[in-house]
C-alpha cells in the first residue's frame, strides 16, 4: 500500500501525488479532537483550518509521508505556519498559488507544480526523469480525466432530475478520490453513474455553492428538507475533480497549471479582466443546473467568499433568483440549526 500524502486545498493536483507513488489524503476538518487550534493561531479563523490543525495537534491523522499546503488564502498560510509548530518532524511543502490567471501566473504555477512533483519524488526516493513525466504523470492524468468525465456525467443527471441519494453518492465518490485513490473512486463512479432509484418530482431544485461541504450526510439532510441539489460549486465537490487538458502545452506542468487555475475557480482566484466575475458565474451555473434558487454556504471567517457575497447577492437579485446565505462551522450540527431557514426557503420557491 502506498504511503499517504496529506493536503487541504482543491488546488492540489492529486495526479501528481499518485504519479510520485503516493496515495492522496485530504485532511478533512472532521474530528472529535479538542479545540486547541485557537491557542496556536486565533479563534476568529476559518473553522476548516482550525479543525485540521486540531487533528494535527491531537495526532488524529493516519501516518503521512508529507504534507502539501497551498498558499490560497491567509488562513491556509497560517495553517502551514502552525503545522511546522504542531508537527515539526513532518515533511512540508508550501506551493504559491497566484490570484490571477494571466500568462505570467500560469507560467509561475507551472513551475510551482514542477517543484511540487520533484519534491514528492524526493520524498519517495525516486529519481526525476523525463520518462516519469511521459509515463507516470500522463497515465495518472488519463485515469483522473476518466473519473472527472464520470463526475461530470453524474452532475448532468443531477441537474435534470431528482434521484434520492444521488447527490450524497457523488460526494462519496469525490471523498474517495480525496482520501484513497483515483482507481477506487472511478470504480465507485462506474457503479453509481446510473441512478439506483427512479426519478422523483416535487422537490425544489437548488444550486449550492461555497467553500466546504464534504459530508455526504448533509446532502441527504437537504433532501429530507425538500430540497433537490441540482448542482454544486464547492472546493470539496466536483470543482476538486478538475479535468486536465494535456493538449494545452508540451509542458505537462503548464497543462496542469492552466487546467487548475482556469477551471471553475475558488473565490480567491479571479479573472482581473472581469472584476467580480464570480457573481456572474454563480448565476450562470444556477441557470445551467435548472435551479429555482441558490444557497450559499460558507464557513465563518472565510474572507474570500464572505467578501464576495454582496456581489453575488446583487447579481442573483438582478436575475430574480432567490438566494439564501448560510454560515457554518464544519459540523452537521450547525447545518441542523439551519433546517428551519432551508425549509422556509424551499417553501418560498413554490414548487
Amino acid at each position: 500500500m502506498n504511503k499517504k500524502i496529506g493536503f487541504t486545498c482543491a488546488y492540489t493536483p492529486v495526479p501528481l501525488i499518485e504519479a510520485a507513488g503516493f496515495s492522496p489524503y485530504r485532511v478533512f476538518p472532521e474530528t472529535k479532537a479538542p479545540d486547541q487550534a485557537g491557542h496556536l493561531l486565533h479563534d476568529n479563523l476559518c473553522p476548516h483550518v482550525k479543525k485540521v490543525l486540531d487533528r494535527a495537534l491531537a495526532n488524529d491523522l493516519p501516518e503521512l509521508a508529507g504534507m502539501i499546503f497551498i498558499n490560497s488564502c491567509d488562513a491556509m498560510r497560517r495553517l502551514s505556519d502552525a503545522w511546522h509548530e504542531a508537527r515539526p518532524d513532518d515533511k512540508i511543502i508550501l506551493i504559491d498559488l497566484p490570484s490571477g490567471t494571466n500568462s505570467l501566473s500560469l507560467d509561475f504555477l507551472s513551475k510551482e507544480y514542477e517543484r511540487l512533483f520533484k519534491t514528492l519524488l524526493k520524498w519517495n526516493n525516486i529519481p526525476f526523469s523525463p520518462e516519469i513525466i511521459s509515463d507516470k504523470i500522463k497515465e495518472t492524468i488519463a485515469k483522473w480525466n476518466l473519473l472527472a468525465a464520470s463526475v461530470k456525467k453524474i452532475e448532468e443527471t443531477m441537474s435534470r432530475d431528482f434521484f434520492p441519494g444521488y447527490a450524497s453518492g457523488l460526494q462519496q465518490i469525490i471523498n474517495t478520490v480525496a482520501t484513497q485513490s483515483i482507481d477506487d473512486a472511478y470504480q465507485m463512479a462506474q457503479n453509481k453513474i446510473e441512478p439506483e432509484k427512479t426519478a422523483k418530482k416535487g422537490r425544489a431544485p437548488v444550486f449550492v455553492f461555497g467553500n466546504l461541504l464534504f459530508d455526504p450526510k448533509v446532502y441527504d439532510l437537504f433532501e429530507d428538507w425538500n430540497l433537490q441539489v441540482s448542482g454544486t460549486d464547492f472546493c470539496t465537490s466536483s470543482r476538486f475533480v478538475t479535468q486536465v487538458d494535456t493538449g494545452l502545452d508540451d509542458n505537462i506542468f503548464k497543462s496542469l497549471a492552466v487546467s487548475y487555475l482556469k477551471q471553475t475557480p475558488c473565490a480567491r482566484t479571479m479573472d482581473t479582466s472581469i472584476p467580480g466575475s464570480i457573481a456572474q458565474r454563480i448565476v450562470e451555473r444556477a441557470k445551467q443546473t435548472n435551479a429555482k434558487g441558490v444557497i450559499g454556504f460558507t464557513l465563518k471567517f472565510c474572507d474570500p467568499y464572505l467578501s464576495r457575497i454582496p456581489m453575488i447577492r446583487q447579481a442573483l437579485k438582478k436575475e430574480s433568483i432567490p438566494f439564501l446565505m448560510l454560515e457554518g462551522d464544519c459540523t452537521t450540527g450547525s447545518m441542523g440549526q439551519q433546517q428551519t431557514r432551508i425549509e422556509a426557503f424551499t417553501e418560498m420557491l413554490e414548487v
Binding site: 485557537g38 491557542h39 496556536l40 493561531l41 486565533h42 476568529n44 479563523l45 476559518c46 498558499n71 488564502c73 491567509d74 488562513a75 498560510r77 497560517r78 502551514s80 505556519d81 502552525a82 511546522h84 509548530e85 508550501l94 504559491d96 497566484p98 490570484s99 490571477g100 494571466n102 505570467l104 501566473s105 507560467d107 509561475f108 513551475k111 510551482e112 517543484r115 473565490a267 480567491r268 479571479m270 482581473t272 479582466s273 472584476p275 467580480g276 457573481a279 465563518k300 471567517f301 474572507d303 474570500p304 464572505l306 467578501s307 464576495r308 457575497i309 454582496p310 456581489m311 447577492r313 446565505m325
Partner: protein, 402 residues
C-alpha cells in the same frame, strides 16, 4: 466633504508650522504631507489609483499617479470618528461584521459615494486575502480596470522573477491608462529618493534604539507602513530628514525622557486608529512604546539598473509577505535590538493575516523571554470597544513586567 476635511487640516497644520518657523515639528510635517495626499486624492484633478498595501508607490508616483492603499482611508475614517456611518453602509449591503474593519469602513465609503473615483485599481496579494478581495469589490463597483500583483511567499529566484515581470507589466498597464510612457529619468529619481529615505529611516530607527530612547509612544506610530506612500518623492526624503533631526535634537537637548521609560515596549502590527488613550495610559504606567513592528527597513537599496527586480525583492522582503516564522524572526531581532521588556499585540478583530498568527507570535516572543499582551480589540471599529477591560489588562501586564 472629504476634500474640505483635508483642505482644512492642511491649512490648520500649515498655520501652526508658520507660527514656529524654527521648530523641527517632524510629526506635524508628516501629517501635513499625508493630508496633502488626501486632498490630492479628492481633488478630481489627478490620475488616481486605489491600491493594496504593498503596491510600489514610488514607481506609481514617478508615472504621475496619485496612489494610496485603501486601508489608509479606513484608518482615517476611524481617527476622525466618522467610520460608524460607513460600517453600517457596508454591513447593510451584506459585508460580514466579523470581517476586517479597515476594509468594511472603506467599502462603506465606496457604497456611500464618499470615495474619489479611481482611474484604475491595483491590488496586491500581500499582506492579506481580505485586502485583495476588497479592491476587487472596488473594481467591480467602479467598473474600472484592475491589475493584481501576486506577491509569492517563498523568496526564490522564480518567485522574484515572477513578481519582477508583473511589475514590468504594471508599467505597461499604467502607461496604457495615463497615455504616458515611463520616463527612465523619473523612475531613477524616484528610486534615488526611495534609497535616501530608506537610509534616513535606518538612521531614525537606529537613534530610536538608544536607551533611554528619544522617541515617545506617539512620534513614530504607524510610521513605516504609511511612509511608503511618500518614499519615492523629495517630500518623503524631507519628512524622513525631519524625523532624524527631531530625534537628534531630542538627544542633544536631553529630551530622552519625553515620556517615562521604566519599561520599553514593542507594538505589534498597527496601532488603534480611533481616539483611545493608550499612549497616556502607558505614560501613566511609566512605559513607552519604543518600536512598532512595522517600523523597519527589510529591503536592500533599489538598483536603478534593475528597478523591477529591486521592487520585487522589496515587496517579498516585507515580513507580512513571508511565513510567520520569518515574521517572528524579524520581531525577535527588533526585540533584542531595542532591548524591550514586553510587547503588545492588538489582535485586530477580523484580521486573519496578522491576528491569525497570535499564538505563534506569543510563543516566538516567549522563546526570547519577551512576554506578549494579546489585546482582543478592533483597531478601527470602536462600536464594541470594552475600554475598561482593555485598561485592566494593560495595567495587569505592566504589573507583571514590574
Amino acid at each position: 466633504m472629504m476634500y474640505e476635511h483635508f483642505d482644512n487640516t492642511v491649512k490648520g497644520i500649515q498655520d501652526k508650522l508658520n507660527q514656529d518657523p524654527e521648530g523641527i515639528n517632524a510629526r506635524k510635517k508628516y501629517v501635513l504631507e499625508l493630508s496633502r495626499l488626501g486632498r490630492k486624492l479628492y481633488s478630481k484633478n489627478e490620475t488616481i489609483a486605489w491600491c493594496g498595501v504593498t503596491a510600489p508607490f514610488d514607481l506609481l508616483s514617478s508615472m504621475g499617479v496619485t496612489s494610496c492603499f485603501v486601508e489608509f482611508v479606513g484608518a482615517m475614517l476611524a481617527s476622525t470618528q466618522t467610520a460608524g456611518f460607513f460600517f453600517e453602509g457596508a454591513e447593510d449591503e451584506g459585508f460580514a461584521t466579523d470581517s476586517c474593519a479597515y476594509h468594511r469602513a472603506v467599502m462603506g465609503a465606496v457604497l456611500k459615494n464618499a470615495m474619489p473615483e479611481p482611474d484604475f485599481i491595483i491590488g496586491t496579494s500581500s499582506p492579506c486575502t481580505a485586502g485583495l478581495a476588497i479592491v476587487e469589490n472596488f473594481a467591480h463597483q467602479y467598473k474600472k480596470d484592475f491589475f493584481v500583483l501576486n506577491v509569492p511567499q517563498n523568496y526564490t529566484k522564480d518567485a522574484i522573477k515572477y513578481l519582477s515581470n508583473q511589475v514590468e507589466e504594471l508599467v505597461g498597464f499604467v502607461s496604457g491608462h495615463t497615455k504616458k510612457p515611463l520616463s527612465k529619468e523619473k523612475l531613477n529619481l524616484a528610486l534615488e529618493n526611495f534609497n535616501l529615505s530608506s537610509q534616513l529611516l535606518k538612521d531614525i530607527y537606529e537613534l530610536a534604539k538608544a536607551k533611554p530612547s528619544p522617541v515617545d509612544s506617539r512620534l513614530l506610530r504607524d510610521f513605516g507602513v504609511v511612509m511608503a506612500l511618500l518614499m519615492g518623492t523629495k517630500t518623503g526624503v524631507d519628512i524622513c530628514q525631519a524625523f532624524k533631526d527631531e530625534l537628534n535634537h531630542r538627544i542633544k537637548t536631553g529630551r530622552h525622557h519625553a515620556s517615562k521609560e521604566k519599561k520599553r515596549l514593542m507594538w505589534i502590527q498597527n496601532r488603534i486608529q480611533y481616539p483611545f488613550p493608550m499612549d497616556n495610559m502607558l505614560d501613566d504606567l511609566g512605559a513607552k512604546i519604543v518600536v512598532d513592528e512595522l517600523n523597519n527597513v527589510t529591503w536592500e537599496p533599489m538598483d536603478t539598473d534593475n528597478p523591477y527586480e529591486s521592487i520585487a525583492k522589496r515587496m517579498i522582503s516585507i515580513p507580512f509577505s513571508m511565513s510567520t516564522s520569518e515574521r517572528i524572526k524579524t520581531m525577535q531581532n527588533l526585540a533584542l535590538e531595542y532591548q524591550i521588556d514586553g510587547a503588545i499585540n492588538p489582535c485586530h478583530w477580523g484580521c486573519r493575516q496578522g491576528t491569525g498568527a497570535r499564538g505563534l507570535i506569543s510563543k516566538g516572543m516567549q522563546d526570547i523571554n519577551v512576554p506578549v499582551l494579546n489585546l482582543e480589540i478592533d483597531c478601527v471599529d470602536s462600536r464594541n470597544l470594552a475600554k475598561g477591560q482593555i485598561e485592566t489588562r494593560v495595567e495587569a501586564f505592566m504589573e507583571m513586567l514590574s
